[in-house]
């Protein structure tokens, strides 16, 4: 199902379903970005019911490996139960609530052990030991009351998604549309090159929205607009054709391959775009693609045929190096948002992945994570679990990220100013954002 998000005249309907609900898709009430009541509503009605990425599968490679996922005031242990199964447990001892795991690690011997009184559980959540059982009433020792409380778990794109709501529909239903659209990208084959984060002084939605449109490229990223000013830079070429799904997800459809910068050849634009992202993000384009571009520079290639030559060289290189690249995707660019808080920007068998979460209960602070992932050569051993770097200060990020993070901080300052009631969104260029707010409100009105 496709949601049509057409531009509309700015106006605000009379009676929203709850405070600061969206009543016109092109207007976002500013309170959604700072009001504690609105954040509380998200905490009660969105996060405990929405599917969300808890970790990558490669963080918990072997049986017993675990990592702790935190959202608002909830702590959830994601545990590799066996080679094929993953479980997620609310991180609390059934005796007196002690958190059973902290950070990440391995539960050895298949035992999750409470550090307080030594109660133990098997990796499947069943209790295996209660110290001095004779002191407890029999009802307290019933297997069902001792069993760890579970979240639903679903695996997609090499990631573990959890849902705290036992009544929520399965992951495949929640991700309908986007699961199929992104399947050709091969996310599940990718492994982490690096994983970095920072704490941004902004609402989690404000932060992620900086990465959910390409409309800002002309002004915010000179290295990507390459000297094309104002309307000379044709945003419709790479940021005007989104397909939005009912579940709040969306992706960018492929363009006709024309160049958004007037007077630039296809070859120059293609290579400079990769160069800018390589330097400006340390991702998207990697050493692998830079190496290919260098070797292509020594060949005589028709500038209009450059992308074709690049992809031929890429697949030839991948075949020789044993890199299992999937065939080129034809129905999507791969640039996509997965509701409620992930955005992906893949290219050439690698990707930038963003996940943004509220920082505890503070509506004006968020945890912003970035992964650079890539499909490695097939014969390589499974590497150790990735390690999260940071928090890294805004000024210490590569140039393009720095430009985005600075704007996010400036926006969070601006939403407080008197006289500003709404942000204004383009139904064409910012429809991923529009669609995400629409779905948030579906949750908040339940």
């Amino acid at each position: 199902m496709t949601i049509q998000a057409e531009p509309r005249a700015p106006q605000r309907a009379a009676s929203p379903a709850f405070p600061h609900a969206i009543t016109d898709p092109s207007l976002v009430p500013v309170e959604r970005y700072f009001d504690p009541g609105f954040a509380r509503r998200e905490k009660e009605k969105l996060w405990p019911h929405a599917w969300q990425m808890a970790c990558r599968l490669d963080e918990i490679l072997r049986p017993g490996d675990f990592t702790e996922y935190r959202i608002n005031d909830q702590s959830i242990l994601v545990v590799r139960e066996s080679a094929d199964t993953v479980k997620a447990y609310f991180n609390a001892c059934r005796h007196r609530a002690t958190a059973l795991g902290n950070g990440s690690g391995t539960f050895h011997g298949g035992q999750i052990v409470c550090p307080y009184h030594g109660w133990r559980w098997n990796l499947d959540g069943s209790n295996s030991y209660v110290y001095a059982q004779r002191g407890f009433a029999p009802d307290c020792l019933a297997p069902d009351s001792l069993r760890l409380r579970e979240c639903q778990v679903g695996i997609m794109f090499g990631m573990v998604f959890i849902n705290m709501d036992p009544a929520a529909p399965p992951l495949a239903t929640a991700l309908a549309g986007i699961a199929q659209a992104l399947a050709p990208i091969g996310f599940e084959r990718m492994r982490v090159r690096w994983w970095r984060h920072l704490v941004l002084p902004a609402n989690w939605k404000m932060a992620q929205e900086a990465f959910m449109e390409a409309y800002h490229i002309m002004q915010a990223h000179p290295s990507l607009s390459m000297g094309a000013a104002d309307d000379d830079y044709d945003i419709d070429v790479l940021g005007g054709n989104f397909e939005c799904f009912a579940g709040g997800h969306a992706h960018l459809l492929p363009s006709d391959g024309s160049v958004p910068v007037p007077g630039m050849s296809v070859a120059d634009y293609f290579t400079q775009f990769n160069n800018a992202l390589y330097v400006g993000t340390d991702a998207y384009a990697t050493d692998r693609e830079m190496f290919l571009q260098q070797s292509l520079a020594e060949r005589d290639i028709d500038p209009n045929e450059y992308p074709k030559a690049f992809f031929e060289a890429l697949y030839q290189y991948a075949a020789g190096a044993g890199i299992p690249l999937p065939p080129p995707a034809t129905g999507t660019t791969g640039y996509a948002h997965i509701f409620p808080n992930m955005t992906v920007l893949p290219a050439y068998g690698n990707s930038i992945i963003y996940r943004v979460r509220p920082n505890g209960d503070d509506p004006e602070s968020c945890l912003f994570e970035v992964w650079a992932v890539q499909i490695p050569a097939g014969s390589e051993d499974e590497p150790d679990p990735p390690v999260l770097e940071g928090p890294i200060a805004i000024e210490d990020w590569p140039q393009i990220f720095k430009e985005d993070f600075r704007n996010v901080a400036a926006q969070q300052k601006g939403v407080h100013t008197l006289g500003l009631r709404n942000l204004v969104l383009s139904g064409r260029y910012e429809s991923m954002i529009v669609n995400n707010h629409r779905m948030i409100d579906e949750y908040l009105s339940r």
Partner: protein, 123 residues
Amino acid sequence: MTRRPARVRVEPAGIDIAVAAGESVFAAALRSDLTWPTICYGQARCTACVLRVVDGHQNLGPLESVERGVLRQLASRRGRRPSRDTRLACRLTVTGDVTVEKKGAQPNPPGARPRAEDPERLA
């Protein structure tokens, strides 16, 4: 390339176990179907898994801060200073062959789960 697993001889039971690169001696012992004293199951908390290094000191993996802290506390409990011969099996990695002493490390009876032991029954 992955190196061959190191051999760790466990005395007094006289059992050899293969320990992979990066693997702890404790994890290797459980994988090899041994009972090894523990009550925290590898979380560097209970100290029940503590072992004595008899030979092969040059092949011991690095002593990281968590293990160092636990060993210091264990030594002070016994009124001593820490000894380089004392390590936590659940944190000890090896880069080559080593001989260790651990009373209570035994082959599992067939079909049995790893069993918890008295924490004060130390090596």
